[in-house]
Every structure is written in C-alpha cells, then in structure tokens.
C-alpha cells in the first residue's frame, strides 16, 4: 500500500490555475536563463489538495495517540494555549516596536520569568535561549564566564555522568571545555567515589540531570552538589526532566547553580516538528549578572494610579545575546497559559500523575521485561527490549512492533548505559484505559518475541510503509525524487 508520490500522480499538460492573457507587454527572458530540466509535477489544484490531505491523515501525533518517548516529555498540548498565543495583541506585534506599545507582552514575559523562578528556586531567569540544547550551551558558558571573571583560568574540565543526554558533552565541547565522563553506580546514581577522585581545581563544573535519563532520582544529589562546590566547581542542572519535580522540590533549593527549562516539554508547548522549542535559563544569585541579555525588568515601579513600566535590561557581566530579539515569544505565551491554567497545586499534580503513570505501566510489565535498576522510578523508566531466550529479538523490533498496536515507539537505544534500552515516559495526561492498552501491547509483544519472533523482526505490518532501511537513510542523503541534469 505504498502511497504514490506527487510525481507519480503527475499528468503531462494538467495545470492547477489558468491565468488570463497578460495585458502588459511581455518581458522576454533571455534563453540562457530558461531552464528546461526542472521536472515539476503537473496536477490540478484538487489533486494536490487531496494528495497532501491524504498524507496528513497518516501522521501520528500527540493528538492521535500516546507518544511515550522517554526523556522527551511529549505531553498533550492544551488547545487553549493556541487560542491565547493567537490573540491579536500577542500575535500581531513587532520586536522593534517601542516598548511603551507592547507593555502587555513584556508583562507576560516578566510574569513568566517570575513563575519559572518560583517553580525552580532560582534567583533570575533569561527567556532567550531558543531550545534545550542552546539553554545548556548558555548555562555552561555562564559557568565558564563566572570562573574567568574571578581570574580562575585553570578550570577547563566538566564532569558529565554517563547517564546524561548527549547534548551535555556536545554543549560543553562547544564551550571549549574538556568532557570527563563519570560512571553510574549499581543503583543508577552518580558514582560518588569516582566523583570524589575527579573533583579538583581544574573542574569547572558538573552537568547533572535529575531525575536522570534512567528515570531515577539521584539519591545522593545533595552530596554530589556539595562535593563539586567544595572543589570550587559549579553544578549545571539539565532541566529536561523537570516534569517529575514540579511543585515537589526545587533545583535551586537543592543547590544547583544554573539550569535550563524546556518550555516545549514541561510546559506543554509544541515539540519536535510542531515547535519551535524554548530553553529559558535560571541561575542562582552569584550568576545573575552573567545571564544572556536582555532580561525583562520593571524599569518604573507602579504607583497607585498607573501600572509598572516594563522594559529590557542588560545584566552587568552578560555573556551577550544568544538569539535574535527576545527568544520564542509565541512559545512563551503558551507556557504562561499552561502555568496559569494549572496554578501551583495543579503543577504539583502534573508531577504526581506523571510519576504515577510511569510506575503504573512499569508495575504491569516488570515481570516480562528486564529492569536494569530495580527500584521505583520517577516520570519515566528504562527496560531492556531483549530476552536471553529470544536471542534474535532486539529493542528496535519491540519498538517497531508497537506501531502495529497503534502506539508511537518509545525512545530506544538510549541511555547508552542500558543494554537494548527502551525508555518509556507516558506523561500525566493519559487515562488508565490508555495506559492499560499500552501495557497490554507491551505484554503481548513480549509473548510474541518468544512465540513468533518473525512478527517482530518484520514489523511494522499495519503502517503505510514497512520497516525502513535505516542504513540507506543515513548514508544516501538524497532527498529529491529527481536530480537536475548537470550542464
């Protein structure tokens, strides 16, 4: 049931729009500029509309089903976020307008900064970074700038647990720091003995995701942070998994020095192709001066008659500007809406249900899947997608087979420290019925892995296209159906 491409639907001479005879003198385009080798498809308008509408119905999205991508927090995006972000006062403004004419938008950004501070326990927040990885880059740059401002130039190494997101070492390397991996212990926590060995006067900091990518809360987080601080280093918090902590504990209170938020994960703004992302950065008091500029501030206090005047300020030792204008404003409106719709109590429930849902699925499947770290989990968990008595089946096959049960596959082969990892994060928004259906599918697949492994090896069977050739996709980067003839 392969879909025809738009080129295959093409019929020579068919056109979508007929123009009237030109009533102005024709301009003769010189022959050398006229290409005849562009094989554009020829279709009527309705054929084009039907083709793409038909393709769009084959999309899988959070609006069509569970999207249990571990560490990505693919939570439902409430539609009211779309209503508020499209309000003309927010949608029809220009970043170069005089600030007096965009006070409502600046007030919203200021409030969002304040909300993120309250949620995280940090002293100040910059909304500028364009996504999580850029937030990390900014955070590490701030750590680097902090040490340099103190004349401490020998701190060139950054410690990163082996359970970290791949973006942690990447952003550190982009900042010119040397990445030193730290192993995890048998409970999935940072190996404290190794950490003590590695902490010296060359350490700029540690990047820690907590809960980490195994979905477990580092039980020694206070000692980890204290150890790095004692050595003079700073601790970066990767906020990717903040969903599990909302209203329960605050990274700033735990002693983290800097952290990014993923508005497109924790705060329900669209994710992936629906983005753009947004990765605000929060910092402890000693790093406030280094935040990227500008920050939204109150530049004239309110009086009894008039509201405050909001404006843009530049922190004293700022690392500079990291994004055109003020970040992803439309995304900020959505995150602000989400936070206001939930309130403090509601956000706490988000975290509680996210953790409950993950542990519920785990409790249903834990007898049939190997659990590398046998403990209770936070908002996500990692199991092995393989069985010693079904040697041909791999995590990838389990993931592909899930598509036949109408579910998006979970994250697989990450984190790297788990053999054949399947990383599952249902988020808080799923009902018990959906969670049960998903757990049923995982149990059925575990059974099929033993009784009819070929069903998994050849999956998916019920999707528009079957198993894709990933090697070819990675090696032959030709995205066109045709290539222009070379002249």
């Amino acid at each position: 049931m392969t879909e025809p491409t738009i080129y295959e639907l093409s019929s020579a001479g068919r056109i979508g729009v007929q123009f009237p005879e030109s009533d102005v003198p024709a301009f003769k385009v010189p022959d050398e500029f006229i290409r005849t080798n562009l094989p554009l498809p020829e279709l009527s308008e309705v054929d084009v509309v039907r083709h793409f509408t038909h393709l769009s119905t084959k999309n899988y999205s959070i609006d069509t089903g569970l999207y249990p991508l571990g560490s990505c927090t693919m939570k439902y995006n409430p539609k009211i976020n779309e209503v508020t972000s499209r309000l003309p006062g927010f949608a029809n403004i220009h970043p170069l307008q005089p600030i007096e004419t965009v006070q409502g938008s600046l007030a919203l950004m200021y409030s969002l900064q304040e909300q993120l501070k309250e949620i995280s326990g940090f002293a100040a927040v910059s909304l500028q970074p364009a996504a999580g990885a850029q937030g990390e880059f900014v955070g590490v740059k701030i750590i680097h700038a902090y040490h340099q401002s103190r004349g401490d130039f020998k701190r060139t190494r950054i410690l990163i647990p082996d359970s970290a997101h791949g973006t942690n070492p990447a952003t550190s390397a982009m900042n010119g720091l040397e990445v030193i991996p730290i192993p995890s212990d048998s409970r999935g926590n940072v190996d404290l003995a190794k950490l003590h060995d590695l902490c010296d006067e060359t350490v700029a900091g540690l990047m820690l995701t907590n809960p980490n990518t195994l979905g477990v809360f580092d039980e020694n987080v206070l000692e980890v942070i204290e150890t790095v601080h004692r050595a003079g280093g700073l601790v970066y918090g990767d906020g990717a998994n903040l969903n599990a902590l909302l209203g329960i504990t605050r990274p700033g209170d735990l002693g983290f020095d800097v952290m990014h938020f993923n508005l497109h994960k924790t705060f329900s703004t669209p994710h992936g192709g629906g983005g753009p992302g947004s990765g605000p950065v929060g910092v402890a008091p000693h790093l406030v001066d280094f935040l990227p500029a500008p920050i939204v501030s109150i530049i004239e206090e309110a009086t009894e008659e008039i509201p405050p005047l909001y404006g843009l300020t530049i922190p004293a030792k700022t690392i500079g500007r990291v994004k055109a204008f003020y970040g992803q404003f439309g995304v900020m409106v959505r995150a602000f809406t989400y936070i206001r719709m939930h309130g403090a109590e509601g956000l706490k429930k988000v975290a509680e249900y996210a953790v409950l849902n993950a542990n519920y699925i785990l409790s249903r499947i834990r007898d049939k899947y190997t659990l590398p770290y046998d403990r209770s989990y936070m908002h996500e968990f990692v199991v092995e997608g393989c069985w010693s008595d079904a040697p041909d089946v791999h995590a990838l096959d389990v993931a592909k087979r899930l598509m036949d049960y109408d579910f998006h596959p979970p994250t697989n082969y990450f984190p790297l420290i788990v053999h054949e990892a399947l990383m599952i994060e249902p988020t808080e928004t799923e009902s018990k019925q959906v969670l049960d259906k998903f757990a049923d599918a995982l149990l059925k697949i575990a059974e099929e892995a033993h009784s009819s492994p070929e069903l998994l090896k050849e999956a998916p069977h019920h999707t528009p296209v079957g198993r894709l050739d990933e090697v070819k996709a990675a090696k032959e980067l030709v995205l066109c159906c045709w290539l222009p003839e070379s002249n």
């Binding site: 010693s388 990838l396 082969y413 090697v471 990675a474």
Partner: protein, 130 residues
Amino acid sequence: MKTPENLKYASTDEWLLVEGNTATLGVSDYAQDQLSDVVFVEITAGIGETLSKGSVVGTIESVKAAADVTIPVSGKVIAVNEDLANTPELVNSDPFGAAWMIKVELTNPKELDDLMNAKAYTEYCETRSH
C-alpha cells in the same frame, strides 16, 4: 562473537595487532555487534601525530549510536585506513581485517601489558551481555 587469538584487546573494545614495534588498531566484533549497522567512520588522527594512551583516534557512527574510538597505548601514527570513510560497513563485515583504523609505532611497549588476551576479553564481553 569472534576474538582472534593473535590480538590484544582493550576494555573500551579496541583490538591491537602487534608486529615488532608497530601495532594496528581496530574495533572488536563485540563492538561492531553492539553498534549495529555502521554508517559513518571518521578518523581524526593523522599520520605523524603522536598519540598518548587513551587519546581519541576517531568516531564510529551507527544507526543506533556514535562512539569514540580510543587507542589503549601510546604511539606515533604511521598509517591511516583511508578506505573506511567511503566503506564504513567494513566495520561490520570485517572488523579484524579490512576495517583496521590506524597503525602506530609504539612509544611505550610496556603499556601492552595492561591489555587483555582473547580469553580474558571473551569473558569480559560475556559479563556485559546475556
């Protein structure tokens, strides 16, 4: 899983073929099996470069993951396998032969004592999979 007897192995899954004072480096059958289909190999070490024990020699990328390849001994690079850039799949099909990555002149042959023989490496791999 193959572990040829004539090679020495590192805990980071590289093999070394030692001939006199030179050594050839590649990644093991276990490593290629764990990585699955290799789609990209980049060797960053250049001829004439002096590498210390543990230095990164290059990167192997598969459909699953990207991994640094390190050298478990110190040495001066005397040859680099240029073919791997265009035929990275050799890492899967012939890890101990055509997929060698670099050859070095050993500068501290004593470091070879820290490496595993085939038997020890086989046992080491078995402890990590099941």
